[in-house]
Symmetry: C2
């Protein structure tokens, strides 16, 4: 795709939220990127327009049969005022993998990324400068055809919206308490667990409600078949350091292939820390705990980067990890990865992409 | 809820589609019902307004995290010009059960039904009169809060739209061929399979694609855990008549509780036909077939009412049912149920509700 990206500028700029006090996902920049799709034209009319409402027929398929996928990534402003993205090509790759699962036509990944870069050039003043702040980027695609027939939509819209976000850890990193969910299921092999699609998230709220009621902040998800194996924590991938070795659940067909997950594994290998992707059951984890071998645990994702787990509760069987403190390795991973993302430490892996 | 339903009439009526040539789900009536929800007010401002587009912020949660539920039912016009609904209270009951699974606030079922009745009074000329035609009714709820935080929406909209539909069987009832799906999963216990929520439907297209490529019209879904037990056919419940007994998969926590399914079971019991809800594996079905005991098979749902299955293909193991003809019992169920729905035969069960 080598189409021209048409730009329409807004007539009135919005006030920007005050740094360090920015709630996640509630403020949006002045412009957004849009690309339309129809069966006849494919993806067409890429454009940057003022941030404005979406208007859809009440019969638009998104409201009924839910074909929609999304991505989440961040733009960081470096101390020397450069704009960095972190492995954005991986996000657009995954967007297409998600689309394929949900029967949405794929998009030219490089072109979608070039739209994002152009949008960021225009919106660069929306990238907060304060420590830990960033500009959250939300590409998404949704079905638009007004038709109640049960079949994939013939029309779609791709959009990118931008949202400045404050620091995830305003008061320092606090390990979280996790409720092990053994009733509700997030995903199962053959299902949509590997796709970033809306239905997975709505399905997870019910278990989150239970966790909150019990005083825990997140849910640990088990596999949908045997309800034995660990899959994810909240909307994050999960890692355990057990007896010197780092273990993360293997991509079994129901686990989201996190880009932070992938990067953590690559860093650990580079550092010579033993790391393995394999099935791990709750029983195995609790056995290791009883032997005093569970050293660290953490979730990984775009929002928190690293979210240490301080406590697990599996039907009353409680596990306190590393005295509810962030572990040494978790801290090093957090510092290095956020350092690379924000340009504070060298990027030996060539992960960051500068937006000029 | 005893709120007043405000009515705003459209200024220009649309032309109605020509009977017997009406494509499903593409034409919509002149008005729609709307009720808003906010945390502070609960459900409020019920109104009937001209059919018009929905306008939403691009960050509205429906586009990202997919909290949405829907229902489908039909209004029929009788030969003596009365308007009948079929067990509509069951649809609003199920809407609330779906909402509960997806963390959407429930709605007053009786009030929602009264909104539908009021809408139908205004739109009664949209109910087609031709044989087999009806007015398809689509109540749905979707999340509207503009917020990318991963938490249930604080605002929602409930809507009812109406779509005149032609006869499902324009050229008589044709038994369909079914592809047995053993790779993709529709639903699993603990998941959202019992809810009418958008994500389930988008997730099913991929398997439907495979079925279509192999020359079959629908997918037979197996359980997500063992991939052994029969769950549904396409978006319908499924029944088998084996050696004089009618068997349908029990509601296991991943099967939609169909209102047609429920009605078929009640009718069979009333007629003294042995009917049982239990797990049934594909192996059991094929064993019975080898013994010559599979007499009839059919799907049940609002759209088709009864959809006979003429052929199954499980990885090359083909089963031809009743010589690809509709079975005697299937035909009787179809005739009786559609007869009751359209007021042509007496309704001994008090299932129909007249809209005055």
């Amino acid at each position: 795709m080598t189409m021209n990206i048409d730009v329409t500028y807004t007539k009135s700029l919005k006030p920007k939220p005050i740094a360090d006090n920015i709630a996640f996902g509630k403020h949006f920049s002045d412009h957004m990127a849009v690309i339309d799709y129809s069966e006849e034209k494919g993806w067409y009319d890429p454009r940057i327009v003022p941030y404005e409402p979406i208007t859809l027929d009440p019969a638009a398929m998104i409201f009924h049969y839910g074909q929609t996928v999304f991505e989440g990534l961040k733009a960081y402003r470096t101390e020397d005022d450069r704009i960095l993205l972190f492995r954005p090509e991986k996000n657009f790759r995954r967007l297409n993998l998600s689309s394929d699962r949900i029967s949405i036509p794929t998009i030219d990944e490089e072109f979608a990324l070039s739209c994002l870069k152009k949008l960021l050039e225009i919106e660069k003043d929306w990238i907060p400068t304060a420590e830990g702040n960033s500009l959250y980027i939300r590409p998404f695609i949704f079905s638009t055809e007004p038709n109640l027939s049960l079949a994939p939509s013939k029309t779609y819209q791709f959009m990118i919206i931008l949202s400045p976000v404050g620091s995830y850890y305003k008061e320092g990193i606090q390990p979280v308490g996790i409720h092990v969910e053994d009733e509700y299921t997030r995903a199962v092999r053959g299902g949509t667990g590997t796709a970033k699609t809306a239905g997975n998230y709505a399905a997870a709220y019910k278990a989150q409600e239970k966790a909150t009621q019990e005083g825990y902040s997140q849910v640990l998800w088990l596999d949908g078949v045997e309800k034995k194996y660990i899959e994810e924590v909240g909307s994050m991938n999960v890692f355990f350091k057990i007896n010197g070795e780092v273990i993360t659940p293997e991509l079994s067909g129901s686990i989201l292939e996190g880009i932070t997950r992938m990067s953590i594994i690559e860093m650990l290998k580079d550092w010579g820390v033993p790391v393995i992707e394999r099935r791990i059951s709750l029983e195995e984890l609790y056995d290791a705990y009883d032997k005093g071998q569970v050293e660290e645990a953490f979730g990984t994702g775009t929002a928190a980067v690293i979210s240490p787990v301080g406590e697990l509760n599996w039907d009353g069987r409680k596990m306190i990890i590393n005295n509810k403190q962030i572990g040494e390795l978790s801290q090093k991973l957090y510092d290095t990865l956020t350092g690379i993302q924000t340009g504070k430490v060298a990027d030996p892996y060539d992960w960051t992409v500068e937006v000029k």
